[in-house]
Symmetry: C2
Subunit: 203 residues, 2 copies
């Protein structure tokens, strides 16, 4: 059974981190495999005239407090004990995401993803800094030099631009975004529906 | 067991209609009673500098289409076969909500709520029109003259202003908003969490 399920992610969004932690459970329960597609969230926002939720509702009384409460509840419900809000937020993720594009063609892609998510949302590192990225890669036994070099490769740059544009063309306006075939699901709060759709399409 | 659970609603929001249809199930499963508190959504938006979702994201590419898709999925999942988007939307609900305040002190309050929701979100009536409201009340055997007169009563007007202000003071920025004790839940997509909180607080 081959079902095309894509996770359009950018390491800069904490909600994609939560999804990353919950995806193994979805894969285990459904038997499906979810493909990680790197996109540049800043590029999606620009292309769709969207803004990060924290900016969007900065002017709305009570909303920010409620969004913080919802995140706290979500974290408590799923017991994300390693999660820590990144003190450098918002972090420019262009290097990380170009690195992800390069790594997606290597056999260490899943280790790359895990290393970057840990650095960003568990260890509170400044992951916009190429030095910090390189150091984190080395700590995880990943080929830092290859990856850092690839970040400047015009083909890699172009590939990230392309994947970001395609995400918008398919209907995305933010991240995390999932596609099960052509059915789109946005946000960490749609994982139950996502899983139900996977089960339904696998039948 | 006495637990204070409030549903802050305005007939003008389709999402409050969906909640209204799902509340009986929550009450049945939990044994709890949910109190309907009329508020003026326009007043909440004004006080919090918030806007209806359709306006908020009018400029964001893909978002409106996705919101429509989510609503379609929600309706399909819950099989709301009587629901029909009101062709007069957005409907000014000041008369309806003042009527709700008056009716909340009468023994026919639940029948009033049901009649107004049917007119608004099943029959597609122009519920901003006092004539249409009166006619709908009569169809449901409700005392139209009393209710229409009460809409002009300064005390009733003031009571709606007060309930709307209190809603904002407690943290609301829109509707549907629920309070279980002091725990707030916003939107039709939080009904599972709402139910879990009721169960938890009843223990």
């Amino acid at each position: 059974m081959s079902l095309d399920i894509e996770f359009h992610y950018d390491f800069g969004s904490p909600n994609t981190y939560f999804c990353h932690r919950l995806i193994p459970g979805i894969e285990e329960r459904t038997g499906a495999k979810i493909t990680y597609c790197p996109v540049l969230l800043g590029g999606i926002f620009k292309a769709t005239n969207n803004r990060p939720p924290m900016e969007q509702f900065a002017e709305v009384k009570n909303k920010k407090e409620y969004q913080a409460l919802e995140m706290k509840r979500f974290i408590a419900r799923h017991q994300f004990s390693d999660y820590r809000f990144n003190p450098h937020f918002p972090v420019n993720t262009i290097h990380l995401m170009r690195g992800a594009v390069f790594a997606s063609h290597q056999d260490y892609y899943t280790r790359y993803i895990e290393a970057m998510y840990q650095g960003m949302w568990e260890q509170g590192k400044n992951m916009a800094d190429p030095e910090v990225i390189a150091e984190t890669l080395r700590e995880h036994g990943l080929p830092a030099d290859d990856i850092v070099a690839a970040v400047q490769d015009p083909e890699i740059k172009q590939e990230l631009i392309g994947s970001t544009s395609r995400s918008v063309e398919r209907g995305a306006f933010g991240s995390p975004t999932f596609f099960v075939g052509d059915e789109m699901f946005f946000g960490k709060d749609r994982l139950l529906e996502l899983e139900a759709e996977i089960v339904s399409q696998m039948r």
